[in-house]
């Protein structure tokens, strides 16, 4: 079994409980303009070019399709094809550090965009007693979600906007499937973390938060809800893809505090940018 892997980050603190290995998979069905990893949108690898790293050696002939000839990191492809065993070999290196609740997190892109590969990896993790999580947009077919759920101990889901039409405008797709999947999660026997990247003028309004709270309340195993203030981390990648990078801003501190109050008033455990709020 092979799949397209954009990156594997070892020893992460930020992608679930404990120390984690994060496997980023290629492919995503959403097109969020503030995305940190726009190179993962395509189902297949895309070329990236970082001009400041180019020494003008001429090995690539200036052609994106010769990215594999670049030795200086100026040209690359967004993903490499790897076997499940190759990925597991990297995961096993971090295995001694998975005490205290750590494990593997499959992220992306949208990890469920490669369902067979994801499932193969989850089965291998299960066989080796390694705890697994996914970071998902939930914009995935219900049967895929239901297939992977039994292999997870933690599921981290994004909810960018609760209104379907606004969601479509901001991400390119409606959230009908996402909301349907949230209902599946209402009784799922695993720890659920829901996150919203807060972008000023996009989803930091009261109405969206009130609707979001409505989605969160029925989740019986919600560990916490996390607000992540927008950070311009994807800009360099947008440029490397040759795309124009849209400008976004994080909401003001005052606005974030206001939204936090709403969440707390709803009696939902809250985390803001990694810290309990």
């Amino acid at each position: 079994m092979k799949g397209w892997v954009t990156d594997i980050v070892r020893g992460s603190f930020h992608d679930g409980p404990g120390l984690r290995t994060v496997v980023f998979l290629q492919g995503c069905s959403l097109r969020c303009s503030w995305c940190h990893n726009p190179e993962t949108w395509s189902a297949y690898p895309v070329p990236l070019f970082y001009p400041d790293r180019c020494l003008g050696c001429g090995a690539c002939g200036g052609l994106a399709e010769h990215a594999d000839r670049c030795r200086f990191g100026a040209r690359s492809l967004s993903a490499n094809e790897r076997t499940a065993d190759e990925v597991m070999a990297v995961i096993r290196k971090d295995r001694p550090f998975y005490s205290m609740g750590g494990g593997v997190t499959f992220s992306g892109g949208e990890p469920c965009c490669q369902p067979d590969f994801l499932l193969a990896l989850l089965k291998l993790c299960r066989a080796e007693g390694i705890s697994a999580a996914i970071e998902t947009s939930l914009n995935v077919p219900a049967d895929v979600l239901e297939t992977v759920l039994p292999f997870l101990t933690v599921l981290m889901a994004d909810l960018k906007l609760a209104d379907s039409e606004r969601h479509r405008r901001a991400t390119g797709v409606s959230n009908d499937l996402i909301l349907k999947n949230f209902t599946v999660l209402q009784t799922a026997p695993l720890s659920i973390i829901v996150r919203t990247p807060l972008v000023a003028g996009v989803n930091d309004d009261d109405a969206n938060m009130e609707q979001t709270i409505g989605v969160l309340k029925p989740l019986k195993t919600l560990a916490y809800y996390e607000l992540l203030r927008y950070q311009p981390l994807g800009q360099e990648k947008f440029r490397a893809l040759g795309w124009t990078c849209p400008t976004f801003h994080a909401p003001s501190d005052e606005r974030v505090r206001h939204l936090c109050r709403k969440v707390r008033d709803a009696d939902i455990p809250l985390v803001v940018d990694g810290k309990k709020a």
Partner: protein
């Protein structure tokens, strides 16, 4: 807390003293040590000096030390539970003193060419760097120590000049210390501080009876040994102080707030290294109520501190948990963590019983030491692998990495040989060059035998020899193997020409080499690093046979560069890992800075665990980590997993800075705006603002970044 106002004032005063040191002396790339400046008007000329301005000889050291102590300014602060601060270091009053090279009045010019060729830090003439057993002093007091020395002198034939001289010098040392304590008691009396006056007047002669007196006694020994030659080891503080604490508390003399305040004042007095927790001889954990109070006192310091928690299977989860929380929440770079399992199993391989191994504790930057039993030259002797590699690289026929490695190993053997010869010379003459007058008193053997600890007086001679620049050299082999032999993108000659010109006309070659696989991020890199360590360890251990001495010698290999990465890098030209001439070498056993794009604390922890020499000395994991916005509880969970796992994999010591990268970067630009920012440079902690730009850069570059 009843003492909160005193603590606040003491902390403020400490900051003022630190700022004054920086103002008067400039950058100080060392431990803060807790010393204070003498009055500007203070002048002193030592009575005994050689023509060249240095001094040597057993009696001379005793005379000069006593003279200095009899004139040392007294220090009494009404807010402080203890008295005294040290202001001078006798060993540095010798002409031509350098931190890396001490004066030594015996010719070793025949070793210098090879020492310089391989950039050996030989340790010849270096002092201290082994641990006292405070229990000896706490039991006898200064009066008891003096009686013991005098009794032994009376029993020793006058014809035994070496011992007679040593005893007379020891008497001078004790009398000098007692004079300073006596004058301090008088000053306290004058200031109306009756309790401080009583305690100090008593300690001139008597052993301590209470917790406060025991803390004061330890402070006095620390002050004396610092003034003598910096010394710097501490001890198993919770075990040393436990009887006093329990007795005072049972008698209703103190409560825990009193105890914490006394401990706070002891830790403020000096940055000596103390271990808490860990097993006793039989393997049972030694943690007690006072272990927690020590940690509590350390948290109140908000200053430099060197407390280490010994992690073993029996360590109470609560002490481990509180230690990790202290590290994460205070961000003051303490406590450190020491890995019992690998240290004990390694030390046993030298032929010692496990009971003894458990008594060998973590003291000093990277030191392991048996308090009062062992002379060990910790952190004094270093072989710069990078310089050895450079010698081989320049001489090689450049036909294969295997052939280059064989040549490197030949030169490494020669470097270890000359290192061993240096140690032999040191052991032959150090007792005359600079006897260990203070540490002898708290050791088992020197006073009993009349022999200095460096000259056969100590019970064991387990001497440390550390390798430095492991990652730099492993990366050089890995890069050559990848780019020349496997990928054939370069030839050996291409790389040689590029390094000869410091990559001046070969930026592509430099980038290609620098982007190669490395120790810590590739199997080949790890294999080269492990091979170097294995061969170095075997050479070091075998070298012990060549050192003539009155007692058995064991040489114990370790990996540690201290903060000498800058100094050791300056002597080395460009190397095939893309490192340019003069740039710092890699840190201790750590992979090179930037070895992985994601930083990967787990990759670093696994790599360092995999290159442990494995004979009971350390190869520390030096970790600077910014948890970003991560919740403290989550960060603590991650750190606990990291510490436990590193030690389970064979790690020996973890020096961890939990930092706020933005704050460090801002402080790097404007250090004086952050006078209270503390960092652990390597084994030691320091005020960031007091470091030189080179050292500040060293800390900044090591930070492991993760984007949340």
């Amino acid at each position: 807390m009843r003492y909160s106002e005193q603590i606040r004032r003491l902390r403020e005063k400490k900051l003022q003293q630190t700022e004054e040191k920086r103002r008067r002396l400039g950058a100080m790339d060392e431990d803060d040590y807790g010393w204070v400046l003498p009055p500007e008007s203070f002048k002193l000329t030592l009575p005994c000096r050689d023509a060249n301005g240095s001094f040597h000889g057993v009696r001379v050291w005793g005379t000069d030390f006593r003279y200095l102590m009899e004139r040392h300014p007294v220090y009494v602060d009404p807010d402080d539970a203890l008295t005294g601060r040290w202001m001078f270091m006798l060993s540095r009053m010798r002409a031509n003193y350098r931190l890396s090279l001490s004066p030594f009045g015996f010719d070793y010019s025949f070793l210098r060419p090879a020492q310089l060729l391989y950039d050996i830090t030989p340790g010849i003439g270096k002092d201290g760097h082994f641990a006292p057993d405070y229990a000896i002093g706490l039991k006898l007091g200064w009066g008891g120590l003096l009686s013991k020395v005098r009794a032994r002198r009376a029993e020793t034939p006058l014809s035994n000049q070496e011992s007679q001289d040593l005893y007379l010098a020891e008497e001078d040392a004790i009398l000098g210390v007692r004079d300073l304590i006596r004058r301090t008691a008088q000053e306290a009396e004058k200031q109306g501080l009756a309790e401080l006056a009583r305690i100090n007047a008593r300690l001139v002669e008597q052993p301590p009876q209470t917790l406060r007196e025991a803390c004061q006694w330890i402070a006095w020994f620390n002050i004396a040994s610092r003034v003598y030659n910096r010394d710097g080891a501490g001890g198993q503080l919770d075990v040393l102080l436990r009887p006093y604490y329990e007795r005072d508390k049972a008698a209703g003399l103190i409560d825990d707030e009193d105890a914490v305040f006394y401990l706070f004042c002891l830790l403020l007095n000096d940055t000596h290294y103390y271990q808490i927790g860990g097993p006793d001889e039989s393997g049972d954990d030694q943690t007690s109520a006072i272990s927690y109070l020590i940690l509590q006192a350390a948290r109140l310091l908000k200053s430099t501190c060197n407390v280490t928690i010994r992690v073993h299977d029996g360590l109470p989860e609560q002490l481990f948990d509180e230690g990790v929380r202290c590290l994460v929440e205070e961000r003051l770079s303490f406590p450190r963590f020491s890995g019992d399992a690998a240290l004990c199993s390694g030390f046993v391989k030298n032929g010692y019983p496990v009971e003894l191994a458990r008594r060998r504790i973590a003291l000093g930057c990277n030191w392991m030491s048996l308090p009062g039993l062992e002379y060990c030259m910790n952190d004094l002797v270093k072989v710069n692998f990078a310089k050895v590699f450079e010698v081989a690289w320049k001489a090689a026929r450049r036909e294969s990495t295997e052939a280059l490695y064989r040549l490197f190993a030949d030169h490494l053997q020669k470097a270890v040989r000359v290192t061993g010869q240096g140690i032999a010379l040191h052991l032959a003459h150090q007792w005359e060059n600079e006897p260990e007058l203070l540490l002898n008193l708290l050791s088992v053997g020197p006073v009993e035998s009349g022999l200095d600890a460096s000259h056969g007086g100590a019970r064991y001679y387990n001497l440390a020899v550390d390798g430095a620049a492991l990652a730099t050299v492993a990366d050089a082999f890995t890069a050559l193997e990848q780019r020349v032999e496997r990928e054939k993108l370069l030839t050996f000659d291409d790389v040689f020409r590029a390094t000869e010109t410091d990559f001046k006309d070969a930026p592509q070659v430099q980038r290609l080499l620098a982007r190669s696989e490395k120790y810590g991020n590739s199997e080949r890199g790890d294999a080269w690093a492990q091979r170097i360590v294995k061969d170095f360890s075997a050479m070091v251990r075998a070298e012990a046979r060549n050192i003539p001495f009155v007692k058995p010698i064991v040489l114990i290999p370790g990996l540690f560069s201290w903060a000498d990465t800058v100094r050791l890098g300056k002597s080395v030209g460009a190397l095939p890992n893309g490192r340019r001439a003069g740039e710092p070498i890699s840190q201790g056993a750590n992979p090179s800075v930037g070895f992985r794009r994601d930083g990967a604390v787990t990759a670093m922890a696994a790599a360092v665990a995999s290159v442990q020499p494995g004979y009971g000395n350390t190869a520390p994991l030096q970790l600077e980590v910014d948890f970003g916005n991560l919740d403290d509880a989550q960060a603590a969970t991650c750190l606990k997993a990291l510490v436990r796992s590193h030690f389970a994999l064979g790690g020996t010591l973890m020096n961890i800075n939990v930092v706020d990268e933005q704050k460090i970067l801002a402080a790097s630009k404007n250090p004086e705006a952050y006078p209270d920012l503390i960092v652990r440079v390597t084994g030691f902690t320091a005020y960031f603002a007091n470091l030189s730009p080179d050292f500040r850069k060293l800390v900044v570059e090591r930070i492991v970044r993760q984007v949340s």
